[in-house]
Symmetry: C2
Amino acid sequence: MALVVQKYGGTSVADAERIRAVADHVARTRRGGEDVVVVVSAMGKTTDGLIRLAEDVSAVQPGRELDMLLTAGERISMALVCMALAELGVAAASFTGSQAGIITDEVHTKAKILEVRGDRLREALARGVVPVVAGFQGVSAARDVTTLGRGGSDTTAVALAAALAADRCEIYTDVTGVFTADPRIVPRARRLPRVSFEEMLEISATGGRVLILRSVEFARNHHVPLEVRSSFTWEPGTWVLEEDPTMEQATVSAVTSDTSEVKLTITGVPDRPGIAASLFRALADASVNVDMIVQNTSHDGTTDISFTVPRTERSVAVGIAEGLSPKIDAAAVLVDDGVAQVSVVGAGMKTNPGVTATMFEALAAAQINIQMISTSPIRISCVVDAGSADDAVRILHQAFGLEGAAPRA
Amino acid sequence: MALVVQKYGGTSVADAERIRAVADHVARTRRGGEDVVVVVSAMGKTTDGLIRLAEDVSAVQPGRELDMLLTAGERISMALVCMALAELGVAAASFTGSQAGIITDEVHTKAKILEVRGDRLREALARGVVPVVAGFQGVSAARDVTTLGRGGSDTTAVALAAALAADRCEIYTDVTGVFTADPRIVPRARRLPRVSFEEMLEISATGGRVLILRSVEFARNHHVPLEVRSSFTWEPGTWVLEEDPTMEQATVSAVTSDTSEVKLTITGVPDRPGIAASLFRALADASVNVDMIVQNTSHDGTTDISFTVPRTERSVAVGIAEGLSPKIDAAAVLVDDGVAQVSVVGAGMKTNPGVTATMFEALAAAQINIQMISTSPIRISCVVDAGSADDAVRILHQAFGLEGAAPRA
């Protein structure tokens, strides 16, 4: 019998009605002749509410205790899903991350999965019981409860699908799939019927919010086919799959944008070996996630180094850059908070050398200045002024012919 | 170093402010040179809220899933207490029932504790860390999460105190101790500085709501001194201790009342051996908790059997009685929903034969009719009309001289 892992996000289990709808869909899948493992997030805004409560109680929130607190959320949603299934006559049993055998490292609030045992889930399936597993959580070798960080429930679902050799992993959310652009910015954006893991990685990495990067990496590494679908419309969504070399590939699949980063520039850096290394080592040691890095060729023996970091890591990064600047005889540290990254992603780009030119021409025609450029074999990203980001997305979406049919009147 | 287990009930951790007050008290206890193990209930009305949510979702609530759901409550409160302690500089770590090694049977929603391992709590204490343990919950041999039923957090606290050989167990609640009568009924009721385990058992069994019967039994069996105290005033409360034979004992310590039961009477029961046995075996098989039983001597070869059962078990009990009635040639089954049990409890009663007479005279003088009587060595209970219950408590409280000083003006 085929096995499918179905993951339901917070909006999909936000209230009693939605939980009953989820149970109904699980029951239908079972009646269709497939075994199901369900993974759930906490209901709606439960996690945010618990974080606010913690802030009310104490300015000090040890990671171990924050994890203990937040894991209460999935405990509630998974028990309720099991009850709704019971009412439909479907035998189900809930399992915490620990009970499901999700073994992680001990890095509280952003633990990494080390091993998925899953014995109790296999036993439940063998008995005809639907396992309903808490997403986002695991247990460390020290038997402490851990959480997997943002989007952790997707990671749980993919990890379980891999460990249980599931035929596919369905990620249910409040959108109907992966789009050629954010439909709020581009009303005529189309849902993609399929994207490759590589494209999805680039889309997730450059501002696509549907799937978290880590879960896509995990799915790719373990060859787990994903389908992103809506638990509100239940219509077919977007498949995320191995690249199929026999199929013709769209040159550009999607246009994304990301305004979550700030740009730092260190000017007048002496152009000597090891200078850049000392900067990025210091940032890495402080766990700052540097994204794009650009260094111009030097003139007068000095160069400018620009890089982007998440807005949340702005102050740490600025502190390090300003601390290092006098030591390396740099001129100044400039910070630009008003930047956005706009990217085009497409597997077919590898064999279509004109994409870069088309992108730059389209932006230039709209008087949008490009501040930084970075590329991968299937992606081109430009840093532009934040105020131009939405325009840039619309212009590129049109330039690469991604529009769907006009909306019905 | 002395070790104290402090249990904080739902009202004691109802909001951020109360949680900080609890942390402050724990920190003070530690500074006073004692080791502390904290046991917490779910915050305020959390459990009621979760039960309502379950009812919204499904009419079917398997016990295993109800337990998974409800145990989210303590998870939240214990993590928050640890955070509040961290802010005060006190190292603390939360432990679920499972992590604390509270091993129970598999009777979901009212599991019994089979064993308390407590290894992780001992390790934490050895490292100078305050363990904060989830009350009310445990884990079965099948590794499923269980709950201990109503008042289960008290049971957790007492069981831990016994397993860890604690010097005492403090039960913090929203009242300042055990009173000679419910102060809402008798404004001049006094707080008792100490009661024996035996008295406390009778008080809990006859309507005293401060401690649940099971936790008192456990404390008595394991010789754990209890102190019932207020987490709002922090003043000294009531000690529940082994009876001290060298001390003079009050004839009557407390007057209690209980309106949670109904009275069933089977009339015209043939006075043959085995008839009563067949009735009470059938009730026991249906898990009906029969409390008081009275059978009058027969006249004309028949007798009447009256008994009381919890109101929640009324329909099951009536069904059994009415089903059995024709088979034993009984005349009729009568149900009285308007009854109350009024009791006087006191260890000194054993050596004071006049108590029964005083009780009956006091009630008779107030024209309160006694419907049923039951006694133990240290308790006399009368079933009276529910409308007279509060009057009966006041009259008996006065008759046995239990009033405190007049309230200050």
